[in-house]
């Protein structure tokens, strides 16, 4: 493993994170993809600056607002564009300059054009041939089965809908059974049925021990296939790891919890007696919004308090623990 370099992680003011433990954000024991001090600039536009992280097997979501350098990073990892400084390695091989690296990973890019004059089967088979697979037909058939595209395999790509194109692109990226899958907005343009299927595929590959790095914008869907996230803001690493733990780390934002009960006023006043409660708000619909510094004990206390005061509890939910809330905290300036 290349020597670990101290990553001078300067914490942005809006997100007070308890000290960054490991110098390089290690997400697993045996890393598959390693980036060290990677930067990319176009003239005076700095797209990515001094990025260091490593990703292991399982599903990792690459998140970040538009223009944050997220897709530039994915393009550098896949070898589409060269980095200005730093090293990138996929299973110890550099993505640019060594064609052998392309055996180890498959890329599903967000580019929509394909070869309209080829049929789905021909397209996937061509990818198998270019990967120098011994049995291209067999590999093609297996990949098309996985993405359930047999019914349209012999139709021309020109007539494919957006969802069908996404799936045949996945088949092409899978045909050489790579250990690593890089996917740029794979759910873009798929309809709910296709999306449910694609999410299931991603989860299965994750369980199989493959390493998946997936960039996406629709966080409510990311929650359904990834627990590990890598957030890039303004070209810098904002956060890495399990998003629940990350939420814990953001301790300058008190946890907001929403409750609905039979007697909100009574429950509210009872809760105020607890030392860890910072504030209680009751909106016109009678919902309670409680801010607490110690979420863990709060959840344990509430049932007891309700019973003592004979208040029926209808709803209790963290108002800002969803990936969307965590993301919005991380991206603020």
């Amino acid at each position: 493993m290349s020597r670990l370099i101290r990553n001078r992680a300067k914490t942005p003011p809006s997100v007070m994170v308890s000290t960054v433990a490991s110098p390089v954000a290690l997400l697993s024991t045996e890393p598959t993809i390693v980036l060290e001090h990677v930067s990319k600039w176009y003239g005076d536009l700095v797209a990515v600056s001094d990025l260091s992280f490593s990703i292991g097997p399982g599903v990792t979501a690459l998140l970040g607002p538009n223009g944050s350098g997220k897709s530039t990073t994915l393009k550098m990892i896949s070898g589409l564009i060269g980095q200005s400084t730093g090293q990138i390695a996929i299973k110890h091989l550099p993505p640019r300059g060594a064609p052998e690296t392309y055996r180890t990973f498959g890329l599903v890019s967000d580019v929509d054009q394909l070869y309209p004059y080829l049929t789905g089967r021909e397209f996937v088979r061509m990818n198998a041939l270019l990967q120098r697979m011994p049995e291209p037909d067999e590999a093609g058939r297996r990949a098309i089965d996985i993405v359930e595209m047999n019914y349209a395999a012999d139709r021309r790509l020109g007539g494919y809908s957006k969802g069908m194109r996404q799936r045949i692109k996945l088949a092409a990226a899978l045909v050489h059974d790579p250990d690593v899958l890089l996917m740029d907005e794979p759910l873009n343009g798929t309809d709910p049925a296709q999306r449910a299927h694609m999410i299931q595929l991603i989860r299965d590959f994750g369980k199989m021990g493959k390493t998946l790095l997936i960039s996406s914008h629709v966080l409510i869907e990311v929650e359904r296939f990834a627990e590990n996230i890598l957030v890039i803001v303004n070209g810098k690493l904002a956060a890495a790891g399990n998003y629940h733990t990350i939420r814990e780390r953001i301790d300058n934002r008190p946890h907001v919890i929403r409750l609905r009960a039979s007697d909100p006023r009574l429950l509210g006043s009872a809760l105020l007696a607890e030392p860890s409660i910072r504030s209680i708000k009751i909106d016109e619909a009678g919902r309670i919004l409680a801010e607490t510094s110690d979420a863990r004990s709060f959840y344990a206390l509430v049932p007891g308090i309700c019973r003592q005061n004979d208040v029926r509890l209808f709803e209790i939910e963290a108002a800002d623990e969803s990936l969307e809330s965590v993301f919005s905290y991380l991206v603020q300036r």
Binding site: Y160, S161, H217, E223, Y299, P303, C306
Partner: protein, 347 residues
């Protein structure tokens, strides 16, 4: 399944009269059919769309884009008829298009023009005199959230900014009805929130009926109050969203401890209809789904948690999410038709 999205609250403004008796539906189709060669894109579609924020759903190739083009009077139906704002699409296509806005899904903006110049031009193309067009374009671009960028070339715009310009050109001529095709596609989370809020403003504040076609069901849930699902060119389901009876709802509980112990304890309170959720979110906390939402059940859950001293991470009732409604209506495995729309448009 997915957490129900929080609704965006926007103050209600009086909706202007559309020169239509209130009850009359904004869009009506009578066994509307459209065939491209052998492929049937729309199959005897009967629709009555009220004046509301309408979600238009359906798998890729289900006929959504074809329907929108027909309603805009851009293509002629093979058989049957359709009327928009009381005007027949076949005969009065021009008049309809003067009072209807359309935000297409694909990239349709000229890269080598400035936003203000182009939106102003589009206003003129809808009959607004040159003097007013410039001023309205600047106003509308400001309202969709573009400040000084509106005077820069579109080619430097991010996806989010381009979507805003597309929305601006759809509403600049103050239409009574607006079709929005995948308005939030490709936008980052904060961009999506802003765009959904804009769409609600267009509906509530500007009083325009909105037909929103999107694949992201969460957006539909947050904005629309009426939904239409089309599959294979046929109407599969249409009706208001989220108005299902309370007692049919299941209760979803997430605890931070051994689920079996919790379920046994619950049994002592006489609650047996409990199962462990499998699909759902990737979450560290096990999720239990309890049968039906009567008061006794809520108390039982509360008391079980209090007895075991277990942190009750989440407790909420859940109507069938729109996604379930959608998947049942469309039966996930529906064979995907040769998508006629793609061919029809691409020349």
């Amino acid at each position: 399944m997915t957490a129900t999205a929080t609704r965006i609250e926007v103050p209600h403004a009086p909706t202007p009269d559309l020169g239509l008796p209130a009850a009359e539906s904004v869009i009506e189709t009578r066994n509307l059919t459209k065939r491209f060669g052998g492929v049937v894109a729309l199959d005897h579609l009967d629709l009555e769309v009220p004046r509301a924020a309408i979600g238009l759903l359906g798998p890729n190739g289900a006929g959504k884009t074809t329907l929108i083009r027909l309603l805009l009077g851009l293509s002629r139906p093979t058989s049957g008829s359709a009327s928009v704002l009381g005007m027949d699409t076949g005969a009065e296509g021009l008049k309809i298009r003067q009072r209807v806005g359309y935000m297409p899904e694909s990239d349709v903006l000229p890269s080598n023009a400035t936003a203000a110049d182009f939106v102003g031009h589009m206003a003129e193309m809808s009959g607004i005199p040159k003097v007013h067009a410039r001023q309205r374009a600047a106003d509308v671009l400001y309202h969709v959230g573009l400040d000084e960028e509106r005077y820069r070339l579109i080619k430097g715009f991010s996806t989010g900014m381009k979507q805003r310009v597309k929305l601006a050109q759809a509403v600049v001529h103050d239409p009574s009805l607006v079709f929005l095709d995948e308005p939030t596609a490709g936008m980052d989370p904060s961009g999506r929130d802003a765009m959904l809020e804009l769409i609600l403003r267009v509906y509530r504040l500007m009083g325009m009926t909105v037909v929103l076609s999107s694949h992201i069901l969460e957006d539909i849930e947050r904005v629309c109050d009426y939904v239409i699902i089309i599959n294979g060119g046929k109407l599969v389901l249409s009706g208001p969203i989220g108005k299902t009876a309370v007692d049919t709802q299941e209760i979803v509980v997430r605890i931070n401890s051994d689920p079996q112990q919790f379920m046994d304890r619950l049994a002592t309170y006489g609650i047996h209809e409990v199962r462990l959720a499998t699909k759902g979110l990737v979450t560290p906390y096990p999720e239990l789904i309890v049968g039906h939402g009567s008061d006794a059940v809520y108390d039982a859950i509360r008391d079980t948690a209090a007895d075991l001293g277990v942190p009750l991470r989440s407790l909420r009732s859940r109507a069938h999410s729109l996604e379930e409604m959608y998947l049942n209506a469309v039966e996930a495995g529906a064979l995907e038709l040769e998508s006629p729309e793609e061919q029809a448009d691409g020349d």
